[in-house]
Symmetry: C2
Subunit: 135 residues, 2 copies
């Protein structure tokens, strides 16, 4: 028989991703699940995330930190103009929804023929706090 199984591990990973506040590393998933008493191997987490990505349920992003990849559950309401700004200094991640950016997407599409994937894009820079601290 062909098809996919619904195992307790898959459910646990998916449930945690849904409840999490975005952008989680495989190690974090492991840690949180271990805390809750559930024990899953890292290999399984990677394999599960891989599958969820292929199915379009989860999104893989790479933060520039060298701290490994991050994964994020794709909520239905999340598909709009929603950019991520990441501060180089403090590492804070800012979620930004803004009409201006929506028009930027259109500009790049019509003028430059490029369809932006907002979910996968991270804009780097400095947040106001860190910029102010800069001597």
């Amino acid at each position: 028989m062909r098809g996919e199984y619904s195992t307790s591990q898959r459910k646990a990973v998916l449930e945690f991703l849904k409840g999490a506040s975005h952008h989680i590393t495989p190690s974090e998933i492991l840690a949180h699940l271990k805390e809750s008493g559930r024990s899953i191997s890292l290999a399984t987490i990677y394999r599960t995330l891989d599958k969820l990505c292929s199915e379009g349920i989860v999104r893989k992003m790479s933060m520039g930190d060298g701290a490994g990849s991050c994964y994020q559950y794709i909520a239905q309401s999340d598909c709009h103009s929603h950019f991520h700004l990441k501060c180089i200094e403090c590492g804070r991640l800012i979620h930004l929804s803004c009409d201006f950016l929506a028009s930027m997407e259109k500009h790049i599409l019509y003028e430059h023929g490029f369809t932006i994937s907002t979910g996968r894009t991270v804009i780097y820079g400095k947040c106001s706090t860190c910029e102010a601290l800069k001597k």
Copy 2:
């Protein structure tokens, strides 16, 4: 005495970065230098790149490929509104200079208090060719 030394290895790495056509991985540097007869250890390349980054001479970028980090020499003329678009499908990297994006930078700075680092930011999406191929 305090300060930095100018070694042949540092010169070789920097020179290669200057001549290269952007976005090089440490392994590529190693390979190219080995080809030219010069032999440098990978560790030194990493340490040199790290230093060059701190000095603001070189820029570190992470492409989402899992293929490791990329480094790029920062030319003086390169500091303007210059964004990178990377196609998820074919991997092509597009360099984009555009007034509209310059105004986007200002918008994000004034309205959202965030100073964008254009050099470190990679915008992901699909180029027109790959978008057209999509069934």
